[in-house]
């Protein structure tokens, strides 16, 4: 009862009350008013989330306040500062300092959270060092390839790759984020299915279906914009998710009820999606003059949310917000809900899940539908952008496959996938600036592919990390003997 009061009867009405009453008390459109307004709302919201989920992402009032400040720095202040470059620079500086400080703070907290004295049993430490080491190995391999193809400029080029998203300051950083969004989402799609023991190799097909539906609605359903301009984008995204979800649910259904291997069926669906895509584009939204789809209406473009002030001249848009929300949503589903408890149990031990009375068949379908929906969302966010088109050609879109690597690199955890996706975007930007040197674009792709490929070896690297840490642990506690383990 007390819990219920704390959660629902406490915070949500407070949130709504403040949201409604505050504008009557003070003018929320002045800069100060707006900042106070958004800060209080975000603090209330995050305090609620923190108390509700008891999660390391948000677990106390300090976190809630921090997120509120970050919210202001990113979304509110640039709106007021947009004509003053000095203030904007200051804002960016604050953003960078805050982000780095907070990531370190969270990381240290998470590393310390392990109850075990033994370093080798500290999962965060093992996961993290596995990923970092494999990234370093990947980068070194990239360097080797550069040395082979263009020895004179290899080190210069390597430096550009390392600089990645910082090559042109906040412009390239914005592009990093922009390119990371679809990859994060397809990575999430693969990772989520993987937690249920399914290998969703069909993210590309789901992505394609989502992309087509989004563009179709963006081009054709202008009537929605007449009702409410914001609604158009939402409708397009919504149906893209549904389309991707259906495309994911098909192999899920076949797997659950007919025991058809989801790898085979979802790969096949990639091809079907590809041809359906070509067919439907040519039939409904084909711009014959340019051999591509028509331009989407501006009302269906992904909103920019003031991010373009902070990241000038970059392609960044609100897609990253959607991606981060999806990451957190899936994180909560997997770790905090009975549904996630079932999904993970089915993924880890199908027989035990069956024994426990969980309906693993339905769970498999649900899991694949959600995975497909997320891939569909990725398709929508990729193409609901001015100047993006689908071309009716018989090529399977690569984002779904990149998602597999990202999922591996992120160790199938939503938060890990977020950072892995950003890392990929960062490298891609590095590759973009590598064109300044005498590197062929294909070689750049190869280098990035190699880095990602080797980075995804983190699970393999982890074994060595554990070995090394265990040796250290054993030295530290040589005489102690812990009983009770089967050998």
């Amino acid at each position: 009862m007390i819990n219920k009061f704390k959660y629902e009867f406490g915070f949500l009405p407070l949130f709504i009350l403040f949201a409604l009453v505050a504008p009557l008390i003070f003018d929320v459109n002045t800069s100060t008013g707006n900042i106070i307004y958004s800060t209080v709302l975000v603090v209330i919201l995050f305090s609620y989330i923190g108390l509700r989920f008891k999660d390391w992402v948000v677990n106390n009032i300090i976190d809630a306040v921090f997120y509120a400040l970050l919210f202001n720095v990113i979304f509110i202040l640039p709106g007021f500062f947009k004509d003053n470059e000095t203030l904007l620079s200051a804002d960016r500086f604050v953003l960078i300092v805050m982000t780095i400080a907070f990531i370190i703070y969270k990381l240290v907290g998470k590393l310390k959270a392990s109850k075990s004295q033994r370093l080798s049993e500290n999962k965060t430490l093992v996961d993290l060092s596995g990923s970092v080491i494999s990234i370093i190995i990947g980068l070194l391999f990239g360097l080797v390839i550069m040395l082979i193809f263009n020895p004179s400029q290899a080190f210069e080029g390597f430096w550009i790759i390392l600089q990645g998203g910082f090559n042109e300051g906040f412009r390239s950083l914005g592009n990093t984020i922009y390119f990371a969004v679809p990859i994060i989402l397809t990575g999430l799609s693969v990772a989520f299915a993987f937690r249920t023991g399914l290998f969703n190799i069909g993210a590309s097909g789901q992505f394609t279906m989502g992309a087509f539906v989004a563009i179709f609605i963006g081009v054709k359903w202008g009537f929605i914009a007449d009702i409410n301009p914001l609604l158009h984008w939402f409708v397009a995204v919504f149906f893209a998710i549904i389309a991707g979800g259906i495309w994911g649910a098909i192999p899920g259904y076949l797997k659950a009820f007919n025991n058809v291997n989801e790898v085979v069926s979802s790969i096949m669906l990639n091809y079907i999606a590809m041809y359906i895509n070509v067919l439907l584009i040519k039939k409904y939204i084909y711009n014959t003059a340019y051999n591509r789809t028509y331009d989407i209406l501006s009302s269906s473009e992904t909103p920019g949310l003031n991010l373009q002030h902070l990241f000038p001249n970059s392609s960044i848009n609100g897609g990253i917000v959607v991606a981060i929300l999806t990451v957190y949503l899936l994180h909560v589903i997997l770790n905090k809900t009975t549904f996630g408890f079932e999904l993970k149990a089915v993924g880890l031990n199908k027989s035990a899940a069956k024994y426990a009375g969980m309906n693993s068949k339905v769970n498999i379908v649900k899991s694949m539908a959600i995975a497909g929906g997320v891939a569909g969302l990725a398709g929508a966010l990729t193409y609901l952008v001015a100047g993006k088109f689908l071309i009716p050609e018989t090529v399977i879109l690569s984002q779904g496959f990149t998602g597999i690597a990202i999922s591996l690199l992120g160790l199938s955890s939503p938060i890990g996938v977020l950072f892995a996706g950003l890392f990929f975007g960062y490298l891609q930007q590095g590759g973009y600036y590598l064109q300044l040197l005498d590197f062929k674009p294909e070689i750049i792709d190869i280098i990035i592919a190699v880095i990602i490929y080797l980075s995804a070896l983190s699970l393999f690297i982890q074994k060595f990390v554990i070995k090394g840490l265990k040796r250290r642990d054993d030295k530290n506690q040589q005489s102690e003997v812990i009983e009770g383990s089967d050998v």
């Binding site: 075990s116 033994r118 549904f339 880890l348 027989s351 024994y355 265990k470 506690q477 089967d486």
Partner: protein
């Protein structure tokens, strides 16, 4: 005295645990040397060291007086060391001869010299009275014969030192008897045997000497002839052990479970694995289904618990027909199930202990609120069960199930199932692979549940357990109930004959 194998001061460490701490094992030529210890005492580790699967940190191994380094099983073979694994390592769709030759093939110009091989096998089989049919498929022969194939496999490789890892776990009393004879014959021919077991009666029966390990430490070596079973048990467990299960007579009350003409068909094998079985389990009694592994007990339980489809017949729980219920519905209706395979069914090994303790009840009001798990309640629940059932683990509720010992994993399952407080408790081989201390504990729990007025259905392969714990025994053979017994009026031999299918009472 000449030792054929000496393992001197072996220490093998795993992170956080010394699996073998300064252990010494000396095997005389031509003796049967038992290696006794509870689960996790380090028996398997010691044998893995000898077999070259692990490299010890300290200590030396001498074979025939010479110091050797064994780094892999091939080295072990070279030194004449062979092992019969607890779970046979045979290729099921190969013939007996093919399995024996596998990995040790003699070839001429790249072609198998198969006839020579078969001749050698037949010679060996005559010499040691190991009757096998070289041309049958492994999948068609009995478990006892499979074991003989494993033994022949070692002999074919000219092994002098034979390691038997819990060889009797899957055999009938008669087959055990036969195996004991084979082992004695082998030693007469000059072979030396290490017998890994925790069954004291078998040691008493065949072994010459017995070395005891406890928690990785070497406790001592005794002459079996001069040592009582009680003394050996005490050495193994470190305290006195009560062999006889204390219990009062059963006072059966009303029927909880009623199985009527139950038949389960395996559609892949195209045969009925459970044939027309009927029985009742009453409150306040332990009904035991005895039988050799693979005679339909597993499928019978799966049918009752909902894991398998019932082909025909009915299952009634407290008078309600639950035949067509799903697993969840049966759980909720009042069926608890301690599964046969705790790693496959009982636990999600990568889940923590507390998560495993709510495996069937996570959806209950107590543990969730609108789909969100209530972690505080889950932790409380885990702490309560850990305290009540004495589940030991490294990090309490958050220990991953994988890192717990077998006995404690089983305790966790027993705790979970008993805590659900249902009318029917089905326990399938609840003491499988556990040490004496844990077995004692689980038997006490089962009897306590019986006395608390629940119906307990026990499925067991161990005749000791069947006779000691149960109040009524049904023997299953080839999917049929072939006889019903009162444990006070029967004995191992009678049950053994029914279990092997050589006798049946016509109902």
């Amino acid at each position: 005295m000449e030792y054929i194998v000496e393992m001197l001061n072996i220490t093998k460490e795993f992170p956080g645990i010394k699996a073998n701490d300064n252990v010494t094992l000396q095997l005389k030529k031509g003796e049967i040397h038992a290696l006794l210890g509870e689960n996790g005492a380090g028996k398997s580790t010691l044998m893995s060291v000898l077999f070259g699967l692990y490299t010890p940190e300290e200590g030396t191994i001498k074979v025939r007086g010479e110091e050797v380094v064994i780094t892999n099983p091939n080295d072990a073979n070279v030194h004449g060391i062979g092992m019969v694994h607890q779970h046979f390592k045979l290729v099921h769709n190969f013939t007996v001869a093919e399995n024996i030759v596998l990995g040790y093939e003699d070839t001429k110009f790249g072609f198998l010299k198969f006839d020579d091989a078969v001749k050698k096998i037949n010679d060996l089989s005559d010499k040691y009275k190991l009757k096998v049919d070289t041309s049958s498929l492994i999948s068609d022969i009995s478990v006892g014969m499979q074991q003989r194939v494993e033994i022949l496999k070692m002999l074919y490789r000219d092994a002098e030192i034979l390691i038997f890892d819990e060889p009797t776990a899957v055999l009938t009393p008669q087959e055990i008897e036969e195996l004991m004879g084979i082992m004695k014959d082998l030693t007469k021919e000059g072979k030396s045997i290490i017998l890994i077991t925790h069954k004291l009666n078998e040691i008493k029966q065949v072994a010459d000497r017995c070395s005891v390990l406890r928690k990785g430490k070497y406790i001592g070596t005794v002459e079996v002839e001069n040592t009582s079973v009680e003394k050996m048990a005490e050495m193994m467990v470190g305290r006195e052990v009560n062999f006889v299960v204390d219990k009062e007579d059963a006072k059966p009350k009303d029927t909880v479970l009623e199985v009527k003409n139950l038949t389960v068909r395996n559609h892949r094998l195209l045969k009925d694995v459970v044939k027309d079985i009927s029985f009742e389990a009453k409150r306040g009694e332990i009904l035991c289904i005895a039988g050799i592994e693979g005679n339909g007990q597993t499928q019978l339980v799966e049918a009752i618990t909902g894991l398998t489809h019932v082909t025909s017949g009915n299952i009634l729980l407290k008078g309600n027909d639950i035949t067509k219920f799903s697993v969840r519905e049966k759980n909720n209706a009042g069926v608890s199930h301690i599964p046969e395979d705790r790693h496959k069914h009982g636990l999600v090994l990568d889940y923590s202990l507390e998560e495993n303790l709510i495996l069937q009840s996570y959806f209950e009001e107590k543990f969730q609120e609108r789909g969100f798990l209530r972690f505080d309640e889950i932790r409380q629940h885990a702490k309560k069960l850990i305290a009540n059932f004495d589940i030991r683990s490294g990090k309490g509720p958050t220990t991953s199930a994988r890192s717990m010992s077998g006995g404690n994993q089983q305790k966790a399952i027993v705790a979970r199932e008993i805590d659900r407080d249902t009318d029917l408790l089905i326990a399938v081989q609840p003491t499988r692979g556990l040490d004496v201390g844990a077995i004692e504990y689980i038997h006490k729990q089962l009897i306590a549940q019986r006395d608390a007025g629940k119906a307990v259905l026990l499925i067991s392969l161990e005749l000791d357990e069947v006779l000691n714990v149960s109040d009524r025994i049904i023997v299953m053979y080839e999917g049929e109930a072939v006889g019903e017994f009162d444990p006070k009026k029967t004995n191992e031999n009678e049950l053994g004959l029914y279990m092997a299918g050589s006798k049946r009472s016509e109902a």
